[in-house]
Amino acid sequence: MSRRIRLACWTMTLALALAGTATPAWARIKLITLPVRERVEIQLDNPNTTLVEEERIVPLVKGVNQVDFSWAGTAIDPETIVFRVIAPEQGKNLDAKVLSVSYPPNEQSLVWQVASSDSGGTRVRISYVLGNLSKSFNYRAVAARDEKSLSLWQYIRVQNLANEEFGSTGLWAGFGRRFLKPIGVNETKQLLMEKVEQVPVTKTYTCNPAEFDYLDRAQNKLRVPMHYVVKNAKANRLGTAAMPAGKVRIFQDDGKGTTAFLGEDWGRFTPIDDEMRLYLGVAQDIVVKRTTESNNRTRIAGNLYNQEIVLKYEIENFKDQPVTLDVAESVAYIRRELIGDTGREVQWELGPKTTLGDADKEKTTQDKVLFHVNLPARAKDGKAEKATYLLHVILHNEW
């Protein structure tokens, strides 16, 4: 039995109804029936709005019936209430339709006038948008020991502050998932939407001073954050739907049958084929020193010149495994750092002195150039090889 949302049904005398007197029979003494909810479905698939659909069997008599719906203390949007007659009870041949809806003053209620061709129970469905019944998502990720894959649990959390109790309720979380659960007043329910095992994951080490800054400016050491990158793609056993934003708790299999907590991050809304990047902290074992090797200006004419900049990266990997470091730069940031901001876009190209290899074509744009650099594991004696790479950018037509 619902606490607040109530459906009541009573009938006007047939004669009065048919005499054309459409006056609602607001008699002081009346007998009303209170049909209970037969079925409730809560649609959580709209990102901002929660739609509740409930079905009740309303006993109708031949003629005009008054069906009263009230929702004191809840945040139903009365404008969204839709009343639909679904089907009469079995064996009945009954036609019912809504004639009008009346809204009494200063009350959270309405009265439907329902005409029925015969007497009998009729299944009706009432849909409405309900406030304060919200949802959020969160994830649990457990990375394998080798950090090549992880298990991903996706949870939906439904918070019922709507001041209404729902018994056994179908919760539609979107993506075609349905849960049948009761949800009480002020209750929060967390439900597992999906568990996906063996999701390939890439652990990335990235340096990008425009985005992540220096770790130690005086020593020219860049901050090297680590991320788990999960691509929301079919090949990765994901990719059936966009992944909603939510907090991700990240664990790693510690090889002893338990897991170690690595940290947590906010996973952003991730469309299909996009990457969810989860920040794991700053890598201490990969040291990247970035210095400006050269910075030359060549006059074209008057105040117009080209600028050639060579950046040097000295990289050491103190880890026992080889890793791939993503070296990313914003050329606008380099210009701002070395020349100052002109307010114009940077016209740039890579110069021949670049030793970082080829830029990642798919991910390099006007605003960002990206290289993947493979770093060998440190030697058996513990010494890390210091590798030196150059980035040569030519800025054209500056003034």
């Binding site: 479905e41 649609q43 009346s102």
Partner: protein, 477 residues
């Protein structure tokens, strides 16, 4: 009918021999009840024309009639009395607005007969309004829609209207003064206002309009023998610049209540789904639209659609509905489109990626002189010169990814400032206006398209226009 006593707009026949009714403290009066009442409600203004008839017994000679409207929102300047029967034997000799009773007036009716006559009293009141709203339920495959239009009459006038014929005026009328303001001031104050001719014009215009509308059909009394009480029809008639909706039969709407009735229902209305990027209208995002046409082909088009909130649901294919959007629409004339913005679709990704920028056609100005030389040209350029004009080339790709199960249509509009040449081979590209480029493309289910284009902006002295020119040209990624 105990409700008569609740009436605050009272009409009394004073049983007096003298005309000096106001002077007496002891009155006797009879209260003829309303025979019929008709409400004509304008939704563009807080204005309702009430036309009521009552049967009054007259005696030969002068008959004082009192009309009062305490605690209602009636415009005192608008009250008029007309005789429906025995009109040639009855005449309003004078009308008096007593100074001490602001919400009351007296008529002295000169009668040549002893007997009954039907009188019609018309006045304007505020506080009664109506509005339309729409509920659309799209089919699971999003090709057809069941569209229902409702009208909701809201009575906050202070008066109960029982068994009233209700007529709704769709369209905007010109009102010089808001009637609610008028109703709050006594007659003497109203009289001093110099906008009288405007009010008279307004009243007569509204009345004239009403008189040209044929009376609605009588309520179907045959219901008593039929199997099923039928839903009331809302009859729609065009009139001048307006549409009048007449609700079949009569309605009772007590003060404070509102009542919502279905005005029309259209099944299987075809509609189109289109994705649109129009930052001026919908913000900087790609939105999904449902587009319907108010015409006969779309099973609509019998009436303009009054402004109101459209709520769109979709059959979610699992015996239930999904709520998609609620949106205020403007008045939709017959033949015009109804466009509902459903917001972003997480299954369609819309990205504008700037691939590279370069500059060319650079002109230098020799310092202090009106001499310009082009970079790369034959003339040597002095050191003592500055950049005075250039073209900036920005190459973009408009990437659209469609993860839905259907082909989608995407319309894109982008505006550019300055002297711009827009180079691309995007099919069907055109200028929406002098500074806005528009194109419509389709993206197959599960596919991605990259629409390459180059925006060349002439800067400095190179800028000679302030508009966009389209140019067909291959653009490399």
């Amino acid at each position: 009918m105990n409700t008569i006593m609740r009436y605050t707009a009272a009409f009394a026949v004073l049983l007096l021999t003298a005309v000096s009714a106001q002077a007496k403290n002891i009155d006797l009066s009879t209260v003829p009840s309303r025979a019929t009442v008709q409400l004509t409600i304008y939704n563009s203004e807080d204005l309702t024309l009430v036309r009521e008839t009552r049967v009054v017994s007259f005696k030969k000679g002068v008959n004082p009639l009192q009309f009062s409207w305490a605690n209602t929102l009636i415009d005192p300047t608008s009250v008029e009395l007309r005789f429906i029967t025995n009109a040639d034997k009855l005449e309003v000799a004078d009308t008096t607005f007593p100074h001490d009773k602001p919400q009351m007036l007296y008529w002295n009716v000169q009668s040549a007969i002893d007997g009954d006559a039907t009188v019609e009293i018309t006045y304007f009141t505020s506080g009664i309004s109506w509005r339309a709203d729409y509920v659309g339920v799209a089919s699971a495959d999003e090709t057809r829609m069941k569209l229902e239009n409702f009208v909701r009459v809201i009575n906050n006038s202070g008066e109960d209207y029982e068994d009233a014929q209700v007529r709704l005026v769709v369209g905007t009328i010109n009102l010089v003064e808001k009637i609610a303001a008028l109703a709050q001031v006594p007659m003497s104050e109203v009289g001093r206002m110099d906008a009288d001719q405007f009010k008279a014009t307004r009243r007569s215009a509204a009345r004239q309009m009403m008189q040209r509308v044929p009376a609605a059909p009588a309520p179907a009394m045959a219901g008593a023998v039929s199997e099923m009480v039928e839903e009331k029809q809302v009859i729609k008639e065009g009139l001048s610049e307006y549409f009048i909706y007449t609700i079949d039969g009569t309605e009772t709407i007590p003060n404070g209540w509102s009542k919502r009735m279905r005005s029309f229902e259209a099944l299987d209305v075809p509609f189109k789904v289109q994705y649109r990027y129009r930052p001026m209208e919908y913000g900087d995002r790609l939105v999904r639209m449902y587009i319907l046409t108010n015409d006969e082909k779309s099973k609509l088009g019998t009436t303009p659609m009054p402004d109101g909130i459209v709520r769109i649901f979709r059959d979610n294919g699992r015996d239930g509905l999904s709520f998609l959007a609620a949106q205020q629409t403007k008045y939709i004339p017959i033949g015009d489109k109804i466009e509902v913005n459903l917001g972003e679709d997480p299954e369609v990704i819309f990205e504008l990626i700037k691939l590279r920028v370069s500059r060319g056609n650079i002109w230098m100005q020799i310092n202090g002189m009106n001499v310009f030389k082009q970079i790369g040209g034959p003339a040597e350029i002095e050191v003592n010169s500055n950049v005075a004009g250039w073209d900036e080339h920005a190459v973009f790709t408009q990437r659209i990814r469609n993860y839905t199960a259907k082909q989608i249509e995407v319309e894109v509009r982008r505006s550019y400032d300055g002297h711009v040449t827009y180079r691309s081979t995007i099919p069907g590209i055109k200028l929406f206006d002098f500074r806005t480029v528009e194109f419509t493309t389709t993206v197959d289910a599960g596919k991605r398209v990259d629409l390459l284009h180059e925006v060349v902006t002439s800067q400095g002295r190179n800028a000679k226009q302030n508009n966009v020119t389209l140019q067909k040209a291959d653009v490399n990624p």
